[in-house]
Symmetry: C2
Subunit: 352 residues, 2 copies
DNA sequence: CTGAAAGCGCTTACAG
DNA sequence: CTGAAAGCGCTTACAG
């Protein structure tokens, strides 16, 4: 059902080249790992044989022997979401540079599939796993499918109660700054669009939203929070609900960019001018944000970099570093474009 | 530099569970592959031991022995492009369903990196490779890095002179239909935007463009072809050049959707109404196309399905099917939205 | 500086 | 129906 012969007829191995070079396979192995122990002359002879016979190193055999794997599982919750694509590109790049190769799994937000995938990854002997957990992942199921000994880091989404290292942006601060910007622009009734309270990320972003309101002495009203799927359709839905609301919000801070894009488009369809009649801000700064109509004001989270940071943390874990020290919270930056109305210069901030 | 111990202290193996169940490891191996040879009672005993000891199958060891791998290389030329993301999702899904796992490599259109990646994939013993070749890939470099015996299929982009199976959409027919639609709408000076003649895909799409013009008795003018990078920026650039052209095109058929989106936005920035003053059509029908402002008329190529077809073809190759029969040309469908002006019903077509 | 030997965790004939 | 033996392609002490 699965598989193919390595080469056509018997791939050439270390002993073939040993024979050709007139040495033992131990010596060949030594030159493969560039050991200084072997005399230059023999080294040359062996290298030549390798070229001539077209030898290709069998990393799996080596892994079996050393119990060291160069595979890393990269489990992405929704690869179709441009945000996660950017994350995946960052991870792939980081892993590649460190000599690891990623086995990709797209769980599509399905916890069942995630469980299967995690098991498969173990069977394939990955050295570790980087995962953006599917919605609904809980500590118990994680603990059940994974031994404590398998290095793993979580990205972009936390799992309540988990002590695994987490790599993600400073959601709370980023959100606070975005909402503060809206307040400074004169908005008093500001809605929050998208996501559900079951997502840790949404809760963090709402905390930031509240921080800003409180700091400005504005009331906190749960009726201004319009939950929906974190998609374009969700954004359109939240927008419709908000327009029907008695609180008459004049601006919305969105769970993420695609929600904001959905809202922005729904606004346009109703002839409401984005950035003039209604302000919207997103989160993530995916590449499309800048090409939205109108260009989206959003919180840049340096997603790609975050991906390579996640790769680095996993490597740290694999090398035995203390898990506590492998978490990383990325700095965030408000990128002001047109969807919020006020054309100000970018604001920078540093994280604690 | 790379790697970690499999488990913490000596992972449990087939012999551990053999000992626990009081049988030989051969018997354990038999139950693992669900052989009917072993008596239900012993089977039960063994299963229980597996559960209790928390045994996890070591697929790599099995691969070494059987010379059968469940890894497949998935080499993507530009994962940041939503089009290729959709393709990757389709491939991942197809592979997953067939019991294979994809090793992801994003070459970022870099032929040098592609060569390295291909070599690494060989060392990791993949059963085959699915690749969307980086721009500039030629048969020679391919032949040099890969033995004929390694199953491989090309997707979305051909490599001149290569006889490897190719899975992609019917570019020529899809393009012809799109341009015919423009002609039916009354356009007489129709430009082609984006891509370069060095890309086989662009050449195929231009052939379709020409087919339509010829069929309508319209002149073929090279000055109406505005090449540029296949990106949003490229689209904007082609648009600028077109507007400055003495041929005054009133419509453009674009190399792909992101080129069309770039053109569309550049048009908007100049106050030229898309779909009214100037018509544009894209190619691919990425998910964003429908959310563009205005929604993009484009050629749907069923990218995801194409990805799973590619997976299926590779599997065929691995199972020894005739390469000639493993190519697949996907059917194409014009999706009329607003960017082209004429709001007609969708047109369907079947491929030869 | 190089070789002989054992072993990583499986599978696969081959006996019984 | 089950066990003993050999072997997949490497690496790693251990001698010499």
């Amino acid at each position: 059902m699965d598989g193919a012969k390595r080469g056509a007829g018997r791939a050439t191995t270390i002993v073939d080249i040993a024979r050709a070079a007139g040495v033992s396979k131990s010596t060949v192995s030594l030159v493969l790992k560039e050991s200084p122990l072997v005399k230059p002359a023999t080294r040359e002879r062996i290298m030549r044989a390798i070229d001539q016979l077209g030898y290709v190193y069998n990393r799996s055999a080596a892994s079996l022997r050393t119990a060291r794997s160069s595979f890393v599982g990269m489990v992405i919750s929704d690869l179709m979401n441009p945000f996660f694509t950017e994350l995946a590109v960052g991870i792939e790049d980081g892993l590649h540079n460190m000599g690891f190769v990623p086995i990709l799994a797209n769980t599509n937000e399905d916890v069942g599939r995630q469980t299967k995938v995690l098991q498969s990854l173990r069977e394939h002997g990955v050295a570790g796993i980087i995962m953006s957990p599917a919605r609904g992942t809980d500590v118990w199921s994680l603990a059940e499918t994974l031994p404590r000994s398998l290095p793993m880091v979580l990205t972009m989404r936390r799992v309540d109660g988990s002590t695994l290292p987490y790599i993600g942006p400073d959601n709370r601060t980023g959100s606070r700054e975005a909402v503060t910007h809206l307040i400074n622009l004169g908005h008093r009734s500001i809605a929050f669009f998208g996501g559900y309270g079951t997502m840790t990320t949404q809760r963090e972003r709402i905390s930031g939203y509240r921080d800003a309101l409180i700091a400005a002495g504005l009331p906190l009203r749960d009726e201004l929070i319009f939950e929906s799927m974190p998609t374009r359709a969700g954004g359109a839905e939240s927008l419709a609900a908000a327009l029907a609301s008695p609180l008459k919000p004049t601006a919305a801070f969105c769970y993420n960019d695609i929600v904001a894009m959905g809202a922005t488009r729904a606004l346009g369809l109703r002839g409401i001018r984005v950035g003039i009649d209604f302000a919207v801000i997103g989160f993530d700064d995916i590449v499309e944000a800048e090409h939205n109509a109108p260009p989206l004001t959003t919180v840049n989270a340096d997603t790609r970099i975050m991906g390579t940071r996640a790769a680095r943390s996993l490597l740290g874990l694999i090398d035995g570093a203390d898990p506590e020290s492998m978490s990383y919270t990325g700095t965030t930056r408000l990128v002001v474009r047109e969807s919020c109305g006020g054309h100000r210069r970018e604001t920078f901030k540093e994280t604690a």
